[in-house]
Symmetry: none
DNA sequence: AATGAATGAGGGTTCATTCAT
DNA sequence: GATGAATGAACCCTCATTCAT
């Protein structure tokens, strides 16, 4: 990669990151191209040169964002941690970190651009799903999972926990009751 | 209430309902005052006469919306249904109804107008919370709730289920696995 | 017509006239909505309230313009002037007037908006053409027109003269040779 | 001319030709430097290196265009065709050819850049005018031209015909009535 | 000389809000 | 109180032009 392309790629990354930050903080609609340009230290037109339109920028930012999330998850799933530890990290994720931010961007995007985002669909079906299923097998083997529950239901259950914990308006309430939530996760309302 | 005030009140209700419909369908940002005015069959200025600004309208629509939700929940909680039935209805709520619509409005609002919505706070603390706690007592008495779990944790757990089920991008996946989800709710990942 | 509609109609006329003036002076592309707004003493948005888009404004200005031209021509054609006088006025039209302006607007429009301007087509076929043909009959009767020439050819010939005389870059050359051009018009290059 | 200059000259020609093509097809205003660069297979900056600004490019394209036209006309005028044949070709020119294109470029240019186009003025006065006058002499000698008509008037008359026939919105109507138009040209409305 | 990248200035358009009847 | 008309501010986007290699 020569000097041109290198600097170019850096700028593109800077724009994506700036846009993602702002989108997560203020929502997709409220963020203007001018603000993104300022945050990324480029001119507005440079953004158009790379991304053609705001809609298109949003789409690319979303892929950028999903890629980032997925890299983390993948690494975690493929690690040789015991099942229980993986699970806790999946559920609570970054909740315990200080710089936690809203995941509203995901919903904003899904709402307005859901149609035709084959990218996510593909990533999910071809990469994520197999890893999760394998992960559940591990859980069943280690006796953590009720064998009468289907993969679909577990996945749903897991993502519900994970996503709800990430919601910015909720995260602060989690910490004091994390232990209880873990208990609820494994044994339900009734307890063991 | 005389004829004037009555008609006036009807117009206000019409505006609130129109705004709520549109907000839920398209999101708060995308809906314009002009569109609300058209939907409610009033002029834009009439909206300003009643609500002063869009921000204020949003706030009032939110209260209108929360009131509606809460009336339903209250009725349910105060009914003499058995604990288990109440619970199922709380969790799955309108999910089973055909005309289910996005609850994104709630999150939109919480994101941008969270500060100073003392109305909801008050309603919650003074009205909702007591009823829920009473409800949990009923549950514990009937043996449905692990007595070592705090009210706070149960409430969190319950709302997570409820809100996640309502998410428009999720609702359609719920139906085929509703039984399994109920099971998970009561007995957790591990099962009984 | 009440006060509202009256003022409204006046503003619309003012916008049309301002736009026409500027379009003729500078060409359609070069004139901005802001300039039209300033010239017409209204805000930009008012123009959008009336005309929805610049493209649409251009279309309406064109009709406004064509209507104006046609009213003049119609009056002339329906007057009881002798054939020869009518003809001279048709050909030289406003050329002799001091405030003559470019007819480039017509060509600008025809170039970019020709498709679907059914309005002009209709006006031409239903109103203008019959009057012109009648006018040619008068000319033939009075012995001014070679009876072997078709209506189509005469019309073409006439419009060529008329339009060319109106061209702003040409108009100034016309005056000194107007008599000769009249002669050429009636007797051609060869003369009588 | 060495290899460098030669290749350089070729690029300049390519730019001029590409610009001319696009200007004629879409009008001067609507064509962007980027489009010209793409059509000519050079970078935008190369265009600036050669032409300094869009305005200047337009001026040079216009000279390029006028030169082309004039070479044809000169060749025609200097040929030893009989007067009548020359005339027909001057008037109808490329009208009969299949790939006829709009001459709007000429008017676009004249409108916005008329001042200071000393190049055309000079070409016209020093080269074109003398040849035309000589051509008219030939016509008078052969009895085709009314001897009481001045050179100025004939020139005007001739150019009117020529330019009007070239107008893209008119050209298609010419063919069916070409004979009649020729007749009108020589004998006028009254006929012989 | 030639180019990919970057930009300031401006254009069309939208929207929450105010004016005038 | 209610409305049609009007508006300032801001947004997305384009384009001629310059920078840096």
């Amino acid at each position: 990669m020569n000097g041109f392309k290198k600097r170019s790629e850096q700028k593109k990354q800077a724009i994506l990151q700036a846009a993602l930050d702002l989108f997560q903080q203020f929502g997709v609609q409220k963020v203007t191209i001018a603000e993104i340009a300022k945050e990324a230290n480029v001119s507005q037109v440079t953004i158009y040169n790379y991304f053609e339109s705001k809609d298109n920028l949003i789409r690319e930012v979303f892929q950028f964002y999903v890629d980032g999330i997925w890299q983390e998850q993948k690494q975690l799933l493929q690690s040789d941690l015991p099942f229980h530890d993986k699970l806790e990290r999946i559920i609570f994720g970054k909740t315990f970190e200080a710089n936690h931010i809203s995941e509203r961007f995901f919903e904003d995007f899904m709402k307005d651009y859901a149609s035709g985002n084959s990218y996510v669909e593909k990533l999910y079906v071809e990469e994520a799903l197999p890893l999760y299923i394998e992960f559940f097998q591990q859980g069943r083997k280690e006796g953590f999972i009720d064998p009468t529950i289907s993969d679909e239901a577990i996945l749903f259950y897991l993502q519900m926990f994970r996503e709800y914990m990430q919601r910015s308006d909720v995260a602060e309430k989690v910490l004091p009751i994390a232990d209880e939530l873990t208990k609820l996760f494994f044994y339900g309302l009734r307890g063991k």
